[in-house]
Each structure stands twice: as structure tokens, then as C-alpha cells.
Amino acid sequence: MSAPQPQGGPVARVLGLLGRSRELTLVALMLVMGALVTLGAPQFISVSNLNQVTAMAAIIAIAAVGEALTVMTKNIDLSVESTIGLVAFLVGVILREHDLPVPAAWLVGVGVGLLLGIANGAVITIFRIPSIVVTLGTLSIFRGVVFILAGGKEVNLVDLPPGYADLATDSVLGVPVFVIVAVVIVAAVGLLLWKTKFGRQIYAVGSNEEAAAIMGIRSRTVTFTVFAMCGALGGVAGVMWGIYFGTIYATSASGLVLQIVAAVVVGGVTISGGAGTVVGAALGALFLALINNALLVLQLPQELLQAIYGAVILVAVSADALLSQRQRRLAAREARR
């Protein structure tokens, strides 16, 4: 094994273990934070509160998985929040105005998400325009389509089939359905990255595109596919967003991309590409959702929430950076021996 075993006492050993994996750091932070918040506000740990938190976290996590794929290839998809908004609204309109079975409407929603992703990927790879520019444009275009579709009106919960919004809090064997969907998606995409050629190619393109090309990898095909996947996953998140809120406005999910990108980065996917996991991105989403909720249940002054939220993100990422630097120093010392 190349990774040395952490040296020293139990504390050092635990820190060493955490430093090697962003995922473990996040889990540890969430446990510590959960315990502290429960002391101050016991309702934090209640089933109904945790169901609320995890349902929202599941939606963000699914979008973050797609976003993580683009970031791993040294790209970014800023338009994903508009995809979520557009799909959520479209599914609502379909259910309100057409006599389509609910699953069919969902399928249309995911399909539209896929098409939007394909549009992003096509423009980026055919015209070779940086993805940040392309998706900044489609962020507005997709949102513009929602406004046209809405024509000044929103989709109301009462227009939808009875009990539609309850799906968000339904559970199977005590596990919320949304969480099951998110876990299945994270597992599937995680397996793709870990165990398939395509997954390896994603990391190679993000790490060194020139070298990847010389090794016979079609980096543009990889980039295109990643954006298509990000769109489809945005579609899934959009469908779930619609179920969660029931009432959908033309501006729904505006600004959500910041949370999605934050989840990806907090989850340990490096913004310069080539490294990270989707498990990390999903845990990042859960972490952010928990912080959001903790700030609410602790009943801190409203005007402080935004600033504290940002500060907690920075503290978490800095702590992880410190731990992994320490880990690298240990490893280097080990290698010199």
C-alpha cells in the first residue's frame, strides 16, 4: 500500500483518517453539528424535521451529482437551476392541462432535462466555447422559456392530482422515497465513475485534456455526454422539486445553482477538475441542508442566517484543507524514509 498508516496517538490517527477522505470529514462534521444543535433545539432530531431536511437535501444532491460530473471534466453547468425550474413548471402544466398519467409526465420532465443538457453539451463542444459562458446564456434562456410557459401565472397545488405533494414525505420501510431515489442515483453514477471506462475517461479529461487526447480519448464526446447527464439529472431534480413544493412559480429554483455548486465543492470535487466523488457531492448537499435547517431551528436572528451559512461552508472547507495538508506532509515524510 502506498498510503501510510497514520502515526501517533488515537487523536492523531482519527485526524489522519479524516484528512484522507472528504466524505469522512463531512460525516464527522455532521454528527458533531447534529449533536450540538440537538442540545440547543431538541426538535432538530424529530422525524418530521429530518424528513423535511432530507427531502430537500435529496433534490440538491441529485442536481449536485450532475454538476459534479461537469466540474470533474473542468467544466461547470450554471444553467441547471433553470432546468430544474423549467421541468418542475412543465410537469405541473402537463398534469394540470392534459390527461396524462403522472409517471408519463415525469418521464417527459426528465426527457426535457436531457434535451436541455444535450443543447448545452452541443454548443460547448461544437463551437468550443467555455462552458461557463454557454451555461450563463442558457441559464437565462431556459428561465425565459419558463416565463413564456407561465404567462404570468403559477401552477397551484390544487390543480394537481390529489395527494400529489405527499409523495415528498412518503417513505418505504421508514426511509423517505426521495432519499431512496437519491441513494440509487448516487450509487449508479458512483459505479459509473468507479468501475467503467467512461468514468475513467471523465477523470482523465478533467486532469489533463491534452494527454487524454494523445491516449486516444475523445474528450469532446466525454464533455458532451457529461452535460447531457447533468441535464437529465437536473430533470429528475426538477420533477422532485415540483412534488416537494406543489405550487410552482416561474421563478422557482432561482439562485439554487449557488447551493448546488457549493455542495459539489464542499463535497471535495476540485474546481480545477480531475478529482472528487459523487458520494462527496451528495454528502455536501446533505451537509448544506442540515446547516440551513439547524440555523432555522436554533431560531437565530433572520438577518444573520445568510452570513453564518457562508461562514460555516468556509470553515468546513478550510478544516478539510488543513487536515489533508497535514496528511500529505505525513505521507511525504513516510515516503522519504
Partner: protein, 508 residues
């Protein structure tokens, strides 16, 4: 006898284990044009960087007009009136010509803000002195390499340089542009500037320079007036050293694998033809910029060709991407292994299997065990020194990284292997091993093209040597007739006056 304008004495510079410069000296007189010549790796560039303040010498002293100085950084060099013009001009393409010239110290008005009119006027004045017409308000982007070099020279004049260093300035210029450059360099030296002209091109040395200093392997060889030198004596000073460490194994050369006919690309090379056979190592020699790497990039499908044809096993092929070339059995070990050859974040295993994942795993999922087996097999065959195949390649030494790159292509089972500077930057032990591996590969029936600037390497390893000069094949030398002098002559574009003992020149 005047004092030297710039006097370097006993300069030494080491990088890790290699001595780039060992106790070298150089003297530049005011108003003289002085050539610094030597093979690739002789230490010319390192010396230029020491003078320019990019590198600090480990030992030795620098005197400017008799005064002992240190040059801690490039800004200090500029302040002392030392200007360097690099082979590739280093200008800011989006800024105007005038802004580039006065970037560090722009003329200001009484409010201490930049005086644009004054800046343009003074820039125009400089070009008038050089007798060059150029729009000083236009952005640099889009100007020719030659014009950009003149801007660098104008920059030198703007700081009233006492020493002007030209580092391979003619490498990318046409002959007409070279003439114009020489006129301007002469005019500059007549103003009392000491000019150091670093070049590979011996004809230019004789045309332009008053004296020449020769370096070899980081050491000072000699200094002499060019009038007392001949091309032959200069070449002998440049290459005169023991030859050969790594003889290639004798192999039976088989059928032609790769045939190249009248191949040209957009700018790097023209009308190149050659054949490589199974079991053969074809050496591609020539100076940096002669078009060797460009040929490799076209053969591997990275760059398009503009004319000619390529035959693989007798069938015409045209690769539009590296993946097509790989599938047809052509592999390329690029010159810059950090940039192009490896995914540094990946483990040894993941690097080796990356190009062949499709073949190893025709179905959906990868199997870690198979990958490790393949990686272990090839890294052991190449004797990669590692803690294990799961080690990250960025933790390996240069020589071992290069072995991983070669292992990767061996695993892909190519028929044609193109090696671009396979031993640059690796230590001598790893070098010998790489040579042993390349030799074994040829013996196993691969057709190998080896690009190298290392003359002893080319001579020892190649069955035939193709020498390029300015994008054309200047000579094809069979192994038996190859000498360092002969390769160097051809590489510098000199026609061969067949030395006694060898036959007539054999251009096929």
C-alpha cells in the same frame, strides 16, 4: 585593450544532480557581436538565464564595465542595461506596440499619469532609429514573429541597453527577415552595445559575428575570432567528445511497416519521405525547430497534413485523431511527458491501462485485478522503480515516469512506436535502461522512429539516421557511415564535403 563590457568568470550552476554549467567564462566587448555556440544541452540557455537574472549562479562572478555585480532577478538585469531577446518573443498580444515597449516605465506627465502621446512618439522614434516602419498604436497580436522580435530589440534600445542578448533569434524567421534582423543588430552594436548572439546556425555565426565562444556539456571549450575559424573546426569544438554508451542490438530488419511519401504540413516541414521497417530504429536528428516533432504529430493524427501520403503495411492511411492512429497500431511517446504523456493525478496502473481500457474490458465494468495484472506485468518488464502499481505517477522520478509512459504504449501493442526525446531530463542510469528497452522492442519486430537531439544516443541507437534541416530532409545516413560531425553538418544545413575515409554522401 579596453575593459570588457560584460565579463563572466568561473560561472557554475547545478540543477539537482546535473551540472548545467561548470566553471565557464565569457567576455563581451563593447561594440562587438559575439556568438555563443554549442549543441542542445551545452549550457547556452542556462548561461543566458544567469546573465538575465532568471537563475542565480552557484559560483563565479559577473562584471559589467569592470564593476562586480549580482543579478538577483530579471528586473535587476533590466536596470543594469542587460536586455534579452528570446527565440519566442514574450510580448503582451492585446497591448499596443508602444505599451509593450514602455510597459515597465511608461513616460508620465506632470500628474504622474501615463502620457500616451509621449509614449507613442518615443516608440516611433525608436523604430525610426532602426529604420523599421511599424504602427506603434496597433496591438501586437497578429504581427509576424520577425516584427515581434524587432519590438523586443526596440525595448532593449528604450532602456539604453549596454548588453543585448539574442537567444536563437532566427529560429522562426525567413531568410529575408534574417537579413533585416542582422542589419539592425549591426546598427545596434555600432552604437557601442555588446551583443551576444546565441545560435545553432553556423553560417549565421560566420556572417554576423566577430568572435565565437563554444560550450560543450556545460563547459567552456574555446573562444576565437570567427576569421580564424572554419565550419569544420567549429563543429569539431562543438561535438568533440567520446561517442557511444548504448549500442543497439543487432536485429534482422523485416518488411516495410510505415512509408511516408512527400509529406508536408502547414509550417513545420515539407516534402519528407522515408520508410521504417520492422525491427528497425530510424533516428530523426536535427536542431530544435527543424520539424522533427511536427512530423511525429502528423503521423499520430494530432495535426493535419497538407500534402503527401502515409502508408501503413502498404495501405494508405490518414489519421484524423490519435485514437484512430492508436487503433491502427501507431503509438507516440511525446517530448513533454508532463504536458502530454501522463495523467499525473492517476496511479501507475490507471495510466498504463488508460489507452487500452476498451480492449481489456469489452463489456461494461472494469476489473481492478485485471488492470493491476497488466500494469504489474509491464512496469516490471520496464523495471519501474515504485512502491507499488497503485503509486501516483507524480511521485516518481523523471526516468521512472518515462518508463511508465513507454509501458503504457507497450501495453497497447503498437506496430510503430514514435519516441520523441525519450531520454531528455532522465538520469544516466535510467537512460541506459530506456535504451535497452527500445533496443529490445525493435528486436521484437516493432518499427521505431526515435527523435533525439542527443547525438551519441542517435548514433548508438539508430539503424539509419534521417537529418532534418529547416523542415526538409538534408541527409539520410546509414549507421555505418554516421559520425557526429556528419550529422551536425547536415543539421546545420552545410553540404557535406565527404571526409576522407567515408564514401560519398548517400542521399537516397
Amino acid at each position: 585593450m579596453t575593459t570588457a563590457r560584460l565579463q563572466l568568470t568561473g560561472i557554475s550552476k547545478r540543477f539537482a544532480a546535473t551540472a548545467a554549467l561548470a566553471d565557464v567564462s565569457l567576455e563581451l566587448l563593447a561594440g562587438e557581436i559575439h556568438a555563443l555556440v554549442g549543441e542542445n544541452g551545452a549550457g547556452k540557455s542556462t548561461l543566458v538565464k544567469v546573465i538575465a537574472g532568471v537563475h542565480q549562479p552557484d559560483a563565479g562572478e559577473i562584471r559589467l564595465d569592470g564593476e562586480l555585480i549580482t543579478v538577483p532577478n530579471p528586473a535587476a538585469a533590466r536596470e543594469r542595461g542587460i536586455a534579452v531577446v528570446h527565440q519566442e518573443p514574450r510580448l503582451f498580444p492585446d497591448l499596443s506596440v508602444a505599451e509593450n515597449i514602455f510597459l515597465i516605465a511608461p513616460p508620465t506627465d506632470r500628474f504622474h499619469t501615463i502620457s500616451w502621446g509621449e509614449m507613442r512618439r518615443r516608440a516611433a522614434e525608436l523604430f525610426e532609429q532602426l529604420d523599421v516602419r511599424i504602427d506603434v498604436a496597433a496591438p501586437v497580436r497578429g504581427l509576424s514573429m520577425a516584427d515581434q522580435q524587432l519590438i523586443e530589440i526596440a525595448k532593449a534600445l528604450a532602456i539604453e541597453a549596454r548588453v543585448l542578448i539574442l537567444d536563437e533569434p532566427t529560429a522562426s524567421l525567413s531568410s529575408h527577415e534574417v537579413e533585416r534582423l542582422f542589419t539592425i543588430v549591426r546598427r545596434t552594436s555600432e552604437r557601442g552595445v555588446a551583443v551576444l548572439f546565441v545560435s545553432h546556425r553556423l553560417d549565421e555565426v560566420f556572417e554576423l559575428c566577430d568572435r565565437a565562444t563554444v560550450f560543450r556539456d556545460g563547459r567552456y571549450v574555446t573562444t576565437a575570432p570567427t576569421s580564424e575559424l572554419t565550419t569544420a573546426s567549429l563543429v569539431r569544438f562543438m561535438v568533440g567528445r567520446e561517442v557511444s554508451l548504448f549500442p543497439k542490438e543487432a536485429t534482422t530488419v523485416g518488411a516495410p511497416i510505415l512509408e511516408v511519401r512527400n509529406l508536408s504540413d502547414a509550417s513545420g516541414f515539407r516534402d519528407v519521405s522515408f520508410t521504417v521497417r520492422a525491427g528497425e530504429i530510424l533516428g530523426l536528428a536535427g536542431l530544435v525547430g527543424a520539424g522533427r516533432t511536427e512530423i511525429a504529430r502528423v503521423l499520430f493524427g494530432i495535426e493535419p497534413r497538407t500534402a503527401g501520403e502515409v502508408l501503413l503495411d502498404g495501405r494508405p492511411v490518414e489519421f484524423r485523431s490519435p485514437s484512430e492512429a492508436l487503433r491502427a497500431g501507431v503509438a507516440y511517446v511525446p517530448e513533454d511527458r508532463h504536458q502530454d504523456g501522463l495523467v499525473l493525478d492517476f496511479s501507475i496502473t490507471n495510466n498504463i491501462t488508460l489507452p487500452i481500457l476498451g480492449r481489456l474490458f469489452p463489456r461494461l465494468f472494469l476489473r481492478a485485478r485485471t488492470e493491476v495484472e497488466v500494469a504489474t506485468q509491464f512496469s516490471e518488464r520496464l523495471r519501474v522503480r515504485m512502491t507499488g502499481v497503485d503509486q501516483a505517477v507524480k511521485a516518481l522520478s523523471g526516468g521512472n515516469q518515462q518508463k511508465v509512459v513507454i509501458a503504457k504504449w507497450l501495453a497497447a501493442r503498437p506496430r510503430v512506436l514514435i519516441l520523441d526525446e525519450p531520454t531528455r531530463g532522465v538520469d544516466i542510469g535510467a537512460k541506459v535502461e530506456v535504451h535497452r528497452i527500445v533496443s529490445e522492442l525493435a528486436a521484437s519486430g516493432l518499427a521505431i522512429i526515435m527523435i533525439s537531439s542527443d547525438l551519441p544516443e542517435v548514433l548508438a541507437m539508430s539503424d539509419r539516421i534521417l537529418v532534418l534541416h529547416e523542415g526538409r530532409i538534408s541527409e539520410e545516413i546509414p549507421r555505418a557511415d554516421a559520425t557526429e560531425e556528419r550529422v551536425m553538418f547536415a543539421a546545420t544545413g552545410q553540404r557535406v564535403q565527404a571526409p576522407a575515409g567515408t564514401g560519398a554522401s548517400s542521399v537516397h
